[in-house]
């Protein structure tokens, strides 16, 4: 199993899809390094939050990934 990426909001437009499964890599940085540069840049924006398996990461978290993990990329939510 690889790693499932979930793209919310306008990141979905950058990625061209709401979801993408990529080959396994052990860290989020390694996953991003294998993506197209434009998409990787959008995912690294400071205001984009990450969740792994539904758990929101703090800025300092650098989790070790496991096969089948789901990483969600969450841009700022839309306003009122």
């Amino acid at each position: 199993m690889g790693i499932k990426l979930v793209f919310l909001g306008r990141i979905e437009d950058v990625a061209g899809a709401g979801e993408l499964t990529v080959p396994f890599a052990a860290s989020i940085e390694a996953v991003l390094a294998d993506l197209e540069p434009e998409l990787a840049r959008a995912l690294r924006e400071p205001r984009v939050k990450l969740a792994v398996n539904g758990i929101l990461l703090r800025d300092t978290d650098a989790p070790v990934l496991r096969h089948g993990d789901e990483i969600a990329f969450l841009p700022p939510v839309s306003g009122g």
């Binding site: 979930v6 919310l8 909001g9 306008r10 979905e12 437009d13 969740a51 398996n53 539904g54 929101l56 969600a72 969450l74 841009p75 700022p76 939510v77 839309s78 306003g79 009122g80």
Partner: protein, 151 residues
């Protein structure tokens, strides 16, 4: 400390706010007052449709957590939070919040607080369709101001 009932729902299909509110009100006859907010897709802005996307593992748990905070902060008999996801047309209800309380002031504050925080903190991404094209809606400065009122 707080025995208030919360009813928090995330719905993918249309709902009838009048029916929901009537059932809620009837269930809490000991509440003197019920304050509700109904948000609907605005007609007349040239918006043909609105879509709300959510992220299942976060959105509903966060709505429930917000309901807990509201219940802890005000003395309510009950709190109702219903939010749509998916594609909606002008005039369709998006969100219904209702707070039942013994005292009017508590009910107003609780519903107001719940809406401010639902709008700015909830895990919903919104896009609008105008002239046949979809466009994502960015965060609004007003929402940060709304939140700051409570701090």
């Amino acid at each position: 400390m707080n025995a208030a009932a919360s009813d928090v729902r995330l719905l993918a299909a249309p709902f009838d706010p009048a029916r929901e509110l009537a059932a809620f009100t009837a269930a809490y006859p000991e509440a003197g007052g019920v304050v509700s907010f109904l948000g609907q897709v605005r007609a007349g802005d040239g918006v043909e449709a609105l879509e709300l996307r959510h992220y299942e593992p976060l959105t509903l748990p966060a709505m429930r957590a917000l309901a807990e905070r509201v219940r802890a902060r005000w003395d309510l008999d009950a709190l109702l939070v219903i939010h749509r996801s998916g594609v909606m047309e002008p005039g369709e209800p998006i969100v219904l919040v209702a707070a039942a309380a013994r005292h009017r002031r508590e009910a107003f504050a609780a519903a107001d607080f719940a809406m401010d925080h639902l709008k700015s903190e909830s895990w919903f991404w919104k896009r609008e369709k105008s002239a046949g094209a979809w466009r994502w809606i960015e965060p609004r400065e007003q929402d940060f101001q709304d939140i700051a009122r409570w701090e």
